[in-house]
């Protein structure tokens, strides 16, 4: 392994601009003569719009125009879409209501976009927004996931009676029912996966531009997938044909899924740029981010595990209600279905599973993928019920898991996924060793002598990522394939530009992708430039989410590099008057076997471009592209163990140790992979202990609408993490990569809540387990004990 090749902790190339304040985020972009947009948003959770009077606003200082849903409709601009079809059990398609970019007829959540003011300055746009006179007929609102399907609940969309979008199922109901009727023991658990607000540190932003001369549109946007944004804006929303629309996602300050989707604001900005004849810029306030970014999670679940008298699992059944919010966001339908139900086997050999999911509308912000997208929800259900079952059966939780582990691969689960490779014993053993599991009893006693309650909790997660084989997801309802693209463009002077369809918004692709190319082509890493994020420069790509850029994005680059080497070999052979079969390529040099004749990579590329002496049957130049379609999902898995200490007087929980042993297959840059795990764990701890999105049940107002009320994990909420790795190579891609971006967020909440319920001696506890929640639980269990 070289200092800059695969497996090395190379320091990041992109850091230079970020540490010197020279990053170029969307709000840093200013176009000449730009105007500023500010959105008028609904203050009501549910209301009919009876009229909108924009006349005063239009007359205000500096205002160029004020636009509403009627203006969009008059220009034949379509609504926002959901790109994944899900069918209910009876085969009927999901019942999706219309989702216009500016509300038409009704508003359905607080923050729903109603109109946009475009003015010379942002201050003028904000001032004029207060003059937009919207007349509402306020309706009752429903925000409670568990209650929105009741007869008589306020109806959001006429297309979806009982606010039910679909009722979907996976698995075998009859076989599972049979397993339960034969069970020696059934463990039952009711779980809520609490609603979260993604809160990437960079708020969403957009700058739309229209050139009347060329009739070309340009949109700068905080997107994780600029080509997908372009496709949706062109083909579905109708802003412009694809070839007349350029989308640029420059430096993006975090995404976590929330910047995948095609939202109202960037749609309106790029459309409005033509309407007003000026570039139109919008940046979200953090308050707007709270209201209008897609939220995450929000599941209500009842789960049951059937066991035999030896503690082996016979069957598993799950019923979930998944809140998708007021409108279906771009990938929302896939998250509680094919990214959730298919992971319910966990790391365990479960003969039969049956999972039902009802997706529902409520008067809340649309819900869609957020780091882990369905897999944190699945892991929470599996690992909480496993821990609970172990406690009910008085079996050590590690031993109970081992008894049920999948031991042989490949393993076909009852829920579509076929796990290709893994070793769950290895990660569990390593994690137990790292945290000194055997020493826990002594540590618990020591905590007790200090008046503290100590608990330990496991999370043996597995997830399916590296999304995904195109035909497979197509058959499951996806509207697109999930391959990735790369073009490796060798310049005459031998340096290389790699145009990747992936996008980096913190993942370090400019470094990791360069490590791969540097090693493969044998050229210094400084000579490799990774280009991403601009649809004018880069061929169509699917973008970054679902932990796919290593497994899928890099595999495309790998393939393109192989094509480059194949062509370069031909050029070198011809130049050195040797047979192609006699050429050896090693460390960036093409040599003729058994001689001292050789050509450096750069010499070969120059030869190819100068083209005075190249084989007759090939074209000049050295540039190759590849589209890589994965043959399977990848299956990162591992074991996280955490220890918590609770102060019973205050309910405050301290995370005193966190150990994670993950199997990500091949690792390109260990430093970057560890950083991904750190960040994921932090978000998982955030979900379990600290974060919770709350809507008022009477009014539908977002009560946690800023950092004053929505608590974010801070440095002093978290320990330093202790990480280990095991490795089973992923057999389904040329690099053996499984992916790592979401694993921490997937594993963490279950580990934390298992540890906390252990510490408190309670069966179940709500997330976020704030000090109030913990203290209340202690009072209740003390009162119970006193009464007994």
């Amino acid at each position: 392994m070289s200092e800059t090749g695969i497996g090395a902790s190379v320091r990041r190339k992109e850091d230079k601009r970020f540490i010197t304040g020279k990053g170029r985020y969307t709000d840093d972009i200013n176009l000449q003569h730009q105007a500023h947009a500010y959105f008028v948003r609904s203050p009501h959770a549910h209301a009919e719009i009876t009229s909108i009077d924009t006349s005063s606003a239009k007359a205000a200082d500096g205002v160029l125009d004020v636009l509403t849903g009627d203006d969009l409709a008059a220009d034949s601009i379509g609504g926002l879409i959901c790109g994944w079809m899900i069918h209910s059990k009876d085969g009927t398609p999901m019942r999706a209501g219309a989702h216009p970019a500016l509300a038409q007829g009704k508003v359905r959540y607080v923050g729903n976009e109603v109109a946009v003011v475009v003015a010379e300055t942002l201050a003028q746009a904000k001032a004029a927004a207060e003059l937009v006179d919207v007349d509402y007929n306020v309706l009752d609102a429903i925000v409670d996931t568990a209650k929105t399907q009741a007869d008589g609940a306020p109806l959001l969309h006429d297309e979806a009676p009982n606010n039910t979008i679909f009722d979907w199922a996976i698995g075998d109901k009859d076989a599972t029912d049979a397993a339960f009727s034969n069970a020696a023991h059934v463990t039952s658990l009711d779980l809520i996966n609490n609603r979260l607000i993604p809160n990437a540190m960079e708020p969403r932003a957009a700058v739309g531009d229209y050139d009347a001369g060329s009739e070309n549109f340009t949109l700068y946007t905080t997107s994780q997938n600029p080509h997908v944004a372009r496709l949706v804006l062109a083909a579905f929303i109708g802003i412009a044909p694809e070839h007349k629309l350029r989308v640029v996602a420059p430096d993006v300050g975090g995404g976590f899924g929330s910047k995948i989707f095609i939202y109202a604001e960037e749609t309106v900005c790029v459309w409005a740029a033509k309407r007003v004849g000026r570039p139109v810029k919008w940046t979200a306030d953090r308050s707007e981010s709270f209201l209008a970014d897609a939220h995450g999670r929000d599941h209500v679940t009842h789960a049951e595990l059937a066991l035999d008298d030896g503690g082996k699992i016979l069957g598993f059944r799950v019923k979930t209600i998944a809140n998708l919010g007021a409108y279906m966001s771009t990938f929302s339908s896939s998250v509680p279905t094919y990214l959730y139900g298919t992971l319910l086997s966990g790391q365990y050999n479960i003969p039969t599973i049956y999972c039902e999911v009802d997706a529902v509308y409520t008067n809340t912000a649309p819900v869609d993928a957020y780091r882990g997208a369905g897999r944190p929800e699945a892991t929470y259900v599996v690992e909480r019920i496993m821990e609970t079952a172990a406690r009910e059966l008085s079996i050590d939780p590690a031993e109970f898991r081992k008894r049920n582990f999948i031991q042989e691969f490949p393993h076909q689960t009852p829920v579509i996924m076929a796990y290709d490779a893994g070793d769950y014993n290895a990660s569990l053993d390593a994690a137990c060793k790292l945290i000194d599991y055997d020493g826990f009893a002594a540590r618990k006693a020591s905590s007790e002598s200090n008046g503290k309650l100590r608990g330990i909790g496991f999370s043996n997660y597995i997830e399916a990522c590296g999304i995904a084989p195109s035909a497979a997801v197509g058959s499951l309802g996806a509207g697109v394939g999930l391959w990735e693209s790369a073009e490796v463009r060798v310049n005459p002077t031998g340096n290389v530009e790699v145009l990747t369809g992936s996008h980096s918004h913190g993942q370090g692709h400019e470094t990791t992708f360069a490590q791969l190319v540097s090693e493969k082509l044998g050229i210094p890493i400084e000579q490799v430039e990774i280009v991403h994020g601009d649809t004018d420069k880069v061929q169509f790509g699917m973008g970054t989410y679902g932990s796919r850029s290593g497994a899928v994005g890099m595999s495309a680059i790998f393939k393109a590099c192989e094509k480059v080497i194949a062509k370069a070999t031909k050029v070198a052979a011809h130049a050195m008057e040797a047979a192609e079969g006699d050429i050896e390529f090693k460390d960036g040099s093409f040599s003729v076997a058994g001689t001292d004749k050789s050509m450096a990579f750069g010499e070969v590329s120059l030869t190819a471009y100068v083209a005075h002496n190249i084989p007759e049957d090939i074209e000049p130049g050295l540039k190759e592209g590849a589209f890589y379609d994965p043959t399977n999902f990848t299956f990162p898995a591992g074991c996280h163990i955490c220890e918590v200490e609770v102060d019973p007087d205050t309910g405050v929980t301290e995370v005193v140790d966190w150990v994670a042993v993950d199997d990500f297959g091949a690792v390109i840059n260990p430093m970057i992979v560890e950083g991904q795990v750190h960040g994921g764990i932090a978000q998982g701890v955030g979900q379990a202990l600290i974060e919770g999105c709350v809507y008022d049940t009477e009014t539908g107002q977002l009560m946690t609408g800023s950092y004053m009320d929505y608590c974010m994990p801070r440095a002093d909420n978290l320990p330093s993490f202790r990480l280990g790795f095991t490795k089973t190579i992923c057999p389904s891609n040329p690099l053996g990569i499984k992916g790592c971006g979401e694993a921490g967020a997937i594993a963490a909440p279950a580990a934390l809540m298992n540890a906390l319920t252990d510490a408190l001696g309670v069966v179940n506890l709500a997330m976020p387990a704030s000090s109030q929640v913990v203290w209340d639980a202690l009072q209740n269990s003390a009162a119970k004990q006193a009464a007994e």
Partner: protein
């Protein structure tokens, strides 16, 4: 409209601003120094931290007029003669950033806490001192490592 004059990163600057203009707006929009970021509207996230007369201050909660006559240092001004500040080096060396959006504020806060604590910065102190800086990407693990490393290098 008032005129403000100040020294920013060693350069005398001046501009006409509305009285309500925030210092961060003056830096980003009037001076084009976009390294200082706006991440929230309640003064909690710390992406806007700069140094005002040598002390860390949130520029989203400071009016430009309040900085009249002051020395302002932003992220663009901490390197000297093209050499990175030890805090900047430490963030790069220890992978203390991912998306980079919170990073200018983290670096400015980091420099300030080392200025105040010197070599006695342990992990618990660093974590407590980062109360005013949010990061969504790193889980803080490597930010703490970076600041500890810089503290050593700076002493």
């Amino acid at each position: 409209m008032p005129t403000v004059s100040m020294n920013v990163n060693g350069k005398a600057v001046s501009g006409e601003v509305e009285a309500r203009t925030l210092l961060v707006e003056f830096l980003r929009n009037h001076l084009g120094l976009t390294g200082t970021h706006v991440g929230c509207d309640t003064s909690q996230c710390g992406a806007c931290v700069i140094h005002l007369n040598g002390t860390a201050v949130k520029s989203c909660t400071t009016l430009a007029v309040q900085a009249d006559g002051s020395q302002v240092t932003t992220i663009e001004g901490v390197a000297t003669n093209g050499d990175l500040h030890p805090m900047q080096e430490a963030f790069r060396d220890n992978h203390g950033l991912q998306c980079g959006f919170c990073t200018p504020g983290m670096i400015m806060s980091g420099i300030d806490m080392v200025n105040r604590h010197g070599g006695t910065l342990d992990e618990a102190t660093i974590r407590a001192e980062l109360e005013g800086n949010l990061c969504r990407c790193t889980g803080y693990h490597n930010i703490v490592k970076s600041i500890a490393a810089a503290a050593k290098a700076m002493s």
